[in-house]
């Protein structure tokens, strides 16, 4: 290779590539052709970015499906204002998520962002969103600190905070007479936050967490961990999700532990997206979440029916979150007559939204960008041959701070492997 040739060709390619970057056409998924409403305002540009390819593709796609389903239902119009959607793929990578957020804000001039999918993507875009003052709704990213110690006025959750359902399960487990529990959970932020929330509420009620077993995120074999579980516990709490949850429950059953200990599940362990891959080993498991596809309200059933017609499967919490995100945007536009141009006006309009007829039940926002919503204690049952998350108890209007005072809560460190400390572990 002659060096001059090499340099020459590189520069030529950069020259060609440079201008073509500008020309990349945005992907517009809005339904066109319907008559424009009377409003003279330009359409509200929605920029969706999430993992649509790669390992987490199904998570991002579910969210987008829910959002699309809702927007189709209102014909991409709310409060007399048209809504257009630009879709971007982050492939589950924090760097790409940041690049896509910048693209949506700087190139497409999106009024409102919706996304991303993973917690680390969420933390990666957080500073940029804050700096660019770009309103962003987080439908599924649940990392605690996004709306707690690292909150920004520009990020509002429409989904959940990791420890939010966990607090509820901690209290409920105590009320069921459980006093000593062992926990087996994911060894990374998502697992820590779930476990931390459970432990705090459970111990404040009077229970004792006597053991915490952390499993690496990549573990697919739980056999080495099972013999460590203490014999004298009233229940075992598990925080795993996706494929890990499926394997965990299979092995739990194979080891004969299912009949020995009552099992409680955190971290969306039996979410509808993965429940279809589970078998009888899951039956009887108690879990907690702000959503169940068999929630017996007219709104929930109407949404589930529509979703099944469109996408065949029962909607999990991510799909529901996408749908609710659409509802929140629509309601914000309706309440203001389609007026908010963007930026602060839009954020204020969204924060003021209260929805009583979301599929998951009533929701509103706290001043920190978190969402106040019902938490449901669910039990896995087999009904007409299919597994479902039967709702057996409802804890209404749960905030991300549970029953604690927000300022006291925020002065403590974020839940981690070492916080709250396991004072009852020997």
């Amino acid at each position: 290779m002659k060096p001059r040739h090499a340099l020459f060709t590189f520069l030529v390619v950069v020259l060609v590539a440079g201008p073509s970057l500008m020309a990349a056409p945005p992907q517009v998924a809005a339904a066109a052709g319907t008559p424009t409403p009377a409003a003279s305002l330009p359409p509200l540009k929605l920029g969706f970015y999430g993992a649509l390819t790669g390992n987490f593709a199904s998570s991002g796609k579910d969210t987008l499906s829910g959002l699309t389903l809702f927007l189709k239902g209102i014909n991409y119009t709310a409060g007399g204002r048209k809504i257009t959607v630009i879709v971007e793929d982050t492939s589950g990578d924090p760097n790409t998520a940041l690049a896509k957020a910048r693209k949506l804000v700087e190139q497409d001039k999106a009024d409102l962002l919706v996304g991303p999918t993973l917690a680390n993507e969420g933390y990666a875009v957080r500073d940029y969103i804050d700096r660019a003052k770009a309103p962003c709704l987080f439908p599924v990213v649940s990392g605690d600190d996004i709306t707690q110690r690292k909150r920004t006025p520009w990020i509002i959750r429409t989904g959940w905070t990791s420890s939010q359902p966990a607090h509820a399960l901690g209290k409920w487990a105590y009320d069921q007479g459980k006093r000593r529990v062992a926990i087996i959970a994911y060894d990374y932020a998502f697992g820590w936050e779930n476990v931390g929330g459970f432990q705090r509420a459970f111990e404040d009620a009077g229970g004792k967490v006597v053991q915490k077993i952390w499993t690496p995120q990549t573990t697919s074999d739980f056999a080495p961990y099972f013999p460590q579980i203490k014999k004298d516990v009233d229940a075992v709490v598990v925080a795993q999700s996706g494929g890990n949850a499926v394997r965990f429950l299979q092995q739990w059953d194979e080891f004969g532990l299912k009949d020995k200990y009552p099992l409680y599940g955190l971290a969306a362990v039996t979410d509808e997206a993965v429940l279809k891959s589970m078998g009888d080993e899951a039956v009887g498991l108690f879990t907690v979440l702000h959503w169940s596809a068999v929630l017996q309200t007219p709104e929930a059933q109407a949404f589930v029916k529509k979703f099944k017609e469109e996408y065949k499967d029962a909607p999990g919490y991510r799909a529901e979150a996408g749908y609710v995100t659409g509802q929140v945007i629509a309601r914000a536009l309706e309440n203001t007559g389609g007026k908010p141009g963007g930026g602060k006006e839009l954020v204020d309009a969204i924060r003021a939204v209260k929805i009583s007829d979301a599929p998951r039940g009533p929701i509103s926002f706290d001043p920190y960008g978190g969402v106040v919503e019902n938490e449901y204690i669910r039990r896995v049952d087999r009904v007409k041959g299919e597994l479902q998350n039967t709702v057996i108890a409802t804890l209404p209007n749960v905030s991300q701070f549970w029953t604690y005072d927000p300022s006291v809560f925020l002065n403590k460190p974020v839940y981690s492997r070492d916080y709250p400390p396991c004072t009852n572990c020997q």
Binding site: R4, F8, L21, N95, R102, Y188, P216
Partner: protein
């Protein structure tokens, strides 16, 4: 020769354009171009190992990630400035490379691939689990931009682009000089036949070790630049997918050419950030491009380009005679094909 003159002219014009063009671009394309240049440095640094030394590393993200983490942590926890954190991070990268090199270079071939992979994964696991220092899966952010003595705070994307552009130009110049120096030539000697180099009296281990450190240095530099571009670092920076991306860039562009990997970086970054806006099937497009490259263009994009150049340069008539491409330098494609996988 008229052709040569035209070529030199084109190079000068291109450099000027690369320097001037971004002024007229909106901020997002400038951001993407900055990413391209940073990943070009990263890919070039890996090319030193793969293309010149013939050692395929599956853990090159280790240096990218260590550079990024060290820069962010020293800025965040020690309150270092841009320069302070950058220099400190480079020192940390070199330290890690000194240890890793001493371990990994005891092997070659397949064992080297496995050891580089294992060392890289160890760091990834550390970043994931040592959350008090690294922030775990959530990563760490620096809410600040580099500060330069003359220009001031590099708040705008454009200013940072020019900073990266200058670093990139220095990196290209330094690495080009290095691989053409007698010292750099010894790497190629080792790649071709290490035992012969030993017989000739070269202390081949030391040469390999220094090549490894060079590679790590520039890999770490790319990591530091990227951390300052995004203001963020997470275990993804150390993940095997990052190492694999760098290998793809090198193979796609053409190993052992330095500029080839830059081209590969440009193609992959543009695919990931621009093509993915056009179609969700961008990974498929990338896969097809990659397979086609391995099957039909063993020298990568640069191999193809140089064959084209030779053809244009020598005039069209002798097309059939030239098809052997005797002017094309041998590239170590065989190393890659035996060692790597997509």
């Amino acid at each position: 020769m008229a052709w040569r003159r035209a070529q030199v002219l084109t190079v000068i014009v291109s450099i000027l354009a690369l320097g001037v063009l971004p002024i007229f671009l909106p901020s997002y394309p400038v951001f993407v171009l900055t990413s391209v240049l940073i990943f070009a440095i990263f890919a070039m640094s890996l090319d030193v190992l793969i293309g010149y030394l013939g050692y395929t590393s599956f853990g090159h993200a280790a240096f990218f990630g260590v550079g990024a983490y060290a820069a962010v942590i020293s800025a965040l926890r020690l309150g270092q400035s841009f320069w302070g954190s950058g220099l400190l991070a480079l020192a940390v990268v070199l330290l890690v490379a000194m240890i890793f090199g001493a371990i990994a270079l005891r092997t070659s071939g397949l064992p080297f691939i496995m050891i580089s992979l294992a060392l890289g994964q160890a760091l990834w696991g550390l970043a994931y689990r040592w959350s008090t220092v690294t922030g775990g899966d959530n990563g760490l952010s620096i809410p600040m931009r580099p500060e330069l003595p003359l220009i001031g705070r590099l708040e705008s994307s454009l200013a940072y682009y020019y900073f990266v552009f200058v670093v990139f130009a220095i990196a290209v110049a330094a690495l080009s000089l290095l691989v053409r120096s007698p010292f750099g030539l010894s790497w190629r000697g080792i790649r071709e036949r290490e035992i012969r180099m030993q017989v000739l009296g070269y202390h081949t281990w030391l040469h390999k070790y220094l090549a490894y450190l060079t590679s790590a240095f520039f890999g770490g530099l790319a990591g530091i630049l990227n951390a300052n571009l995004t203001g963020f670092v997470s275990p993804e920076a150390l993940a095997i997918s990052n190492s694999a991306t760098a290998i793809l860039m090198v193979i796609l562009g053409g190993p052992g050419t330095l500029i080839g990997p830059c081209l590969g970086a440009a193609v992959i970054v543009v695919m990931r950030q621009i093509m993915s806006s056009v179609t969700q099937r961008w990974m498929m497009v990338l896969g097809v491009v990659y397979i086609a490259t391995v099957m039909f263009l063993p020298g990568g994009l640069m191999g193809m380009m140089s064959r084209l150049m030779v053809r244009i340069n020598s005039g069209a008539p002798q097309r059939s005679d030239r098809s052997q491409g005797k002017n094309v330098e041998r590239t170590p494609a065989t190393h890659i094909q035996s060692g790597g996988k997509s």
